[in-house]
Symmetry: C2
């Protein structure tokens, strides 16, 4: 078909392809008049430069990759929203990859990106990782920023939240509300993110001289189908009067479990959770949340990635922590 390329455009204008190329990129070598002529003709012919030819020649893709566990998640979809907006402003394209928490899938994505398909990577790593060397390999080859989640044993630029502090403060909030037996729904345990949250919870208990036994911690729940019954069993057996959930997905089952056990939130059991649920206020009862600034995290991560592209970022190993926001609602009222 009559695919219109730069050669065709050039011949139409009685110019060389080189000149047209330069004019299109607004090079200072080209006269204003020629530029105008080129632009006009390009528009007239609906010329769209072939990005692959350009990328091949220039060795840059104008594309970034975003690797997340899931897209359909209140936190990640907000982060992606922000990332897409930053990329858009820079005329960059955004490739999306979901790992479904699998380190294997993650490794295969990351490895394929070594081909040069993207200029940089934003990643919130999967929780199940075996061999982590691909992180190293990718970051040697191109700018990479971790956001929200990260591994302690991997160096890099990281945008996280104050996981320890917010878990600590949320636990303290439960203590202040009168809780004596506070359970913890663990998740992301292989990640720094999860470890810090757990540590914050444990330290808060200790500093309040409250018991901190292993059987108050529910682990390995996130990927098991019987998560609901596990939590229900936990509540009925351990009889906690407070629960802090380290991810939104584990807090929801608490509502159902309490219904079934005829327990009243917050009277019998107070509940607070890490969450980006936008309508926590409308739940019955309104849910106290530790709200992470998802949009800001995405925005910051992307912004820094672009600074790395243009060498306006020098620290290859820094963690920037944004503040979460604890919103106290009915579910933790004393």
């Amino acid at each position: 078909m009559g695919e219109i390329n730069i050669k065709r455009l050039a011949s139409e204008l009685n110019l060389s392809a080189a000149t047209v190329s330069r004019a299109l990129r607004d090079s200072h070598e080209i006269s204003a008049e020629t530029k105008a002529r080129v632009m006009e003709m390009a528009k007239k012919l609906n010329y769209e430069p072939n990005p692959f030819a350009s990328s091949l020649r220039r060795q840059q893709s104008k594309t970034i990759a975003v690797i997340v566990p899931e897209v359909a998640n209140n936190f990640f979809s907000l982060a992606i929203k922000a990332i897409e907006e930053v990329a858009r402003a820079k005329d960059y394209h955004v490739l999306i990859y979901q790992t479904h928490e699998s380190g294997e899938i993650e490794a295969s994505f990351m490895t394929s990106l070594l081909s040069g398909r993207v200029d940089g990577v934003l990643i919130s790593p999967a929780s199940h990782v075996a061999n982590k060397e691909y992180f190293q390999k990718v970051s040697e080859k191109m700018p990479m920023v971790f956001f929200d989640r990260d591994h302690a044993d991997i160096e890099g630029v990281k945008i996280t939240t104050d996981d320890y502090d917010s878990a600590y403060n949320a636990t303290q909030h439960l203590v202040d509300a009168g809780c004596k037996t506070i359970g913890y729904l663990a998740a992301l345990e292989t990640l720094t993110t999860g470890k810090k949250r757990l540590q914050g919870y444990q330290d808060a208990l200790k500093n309040n001289n409250l018991k901190c036994q292993p059987d108050l911690i529910v682990s390995n729940c996130e990927n098991n189908e019987p998560c609901h019954s596990k939590i229900k069993d936990f509540i009925s057996q351990q009889k906690p009067d407070g629960i802090i959930s380290s991810i939104e997905e584990l807090a929801i089952p608490c509502y159902y479990a309490c219904k079934e056990l005829h327990l009243n939130i917050p009277k019998d059991l107070k509940l607070i959770t890490f969450s980006n649920l936008s309508h926590a206020e409308l739940l019955n009862p309104p849910l106290s949340t530790i709200n992470q600034p998802a949009f800001e995290i995405g925005n910051e991560a992307a912004t820094i990635l672009f600074k790395m592209f243009s060498k306006r970022w020098y620290d290859p190993n820094i963690t920037i922590s944004l503040k979460s926001n604890i919103i106290k609602r009915e579910s933790t009222r004393s």
Copy 2:
């Protein structure tokens, strides 16, 4: 740096680049032994073929574009999740673009895709569109599938839901619950999607001999900040005893408005909404919803797009409608 390409790989094996290329693509011309040698060496050297060179030469990108109004939306994030999974299975890459409901931004994305950057497009169009010719242009050049939203005056392959029926049935449900004055919160009014929902509502009223006045319809709400007060005013002035909301975003303000007006849902006002809120059951009161099969829509749209790629799809102008699911909860109890 030691970027390893096909030439290098070939020389390492004492083969020509052509043979290596064929071996990597598992061509039948190549002996099993050679293939094995090539594969082994490719793995050993961590060879990753340059996708731009390949795309340039083969004139195909192994990439699709997904254009949506917003990523951070319960419906779209689920659809994207499905799309990414289908693409993944086909070894395709997924580019994400957000229009923020702007036809201009949409036009600029679509036009840029004419460059050949992607092999096909999945789009849920923006609600504010002026000139629609870019749809035509893109669909002439490559496979394109509309999902969820579409324009009546544009031909194409479309995956939608039974908007008319579900709005009709939801309205009927309100009537059955005893509502006499049923309001409608309109959205997407420029799209077939919005028009059909409105029509379903209106027809249901007529068939039940209920009044169907314009002042029971709240329009132009979605993009205005004062949406909340507009809805609150509507409720206090028109005193509807039932409301059907055509999008989730307009149903939430009803909860707040009712709180402020000291109205009880469902006693004073029954509410049902199109929504993909996963925790509608936990709201206070539990919210009756018209739940669209977001994942299935994304899955179906992507699956058909790939069929179009391989010419296993022939109808260029068909609308496939998936069934929504009306879930009756406390908010519409009589």
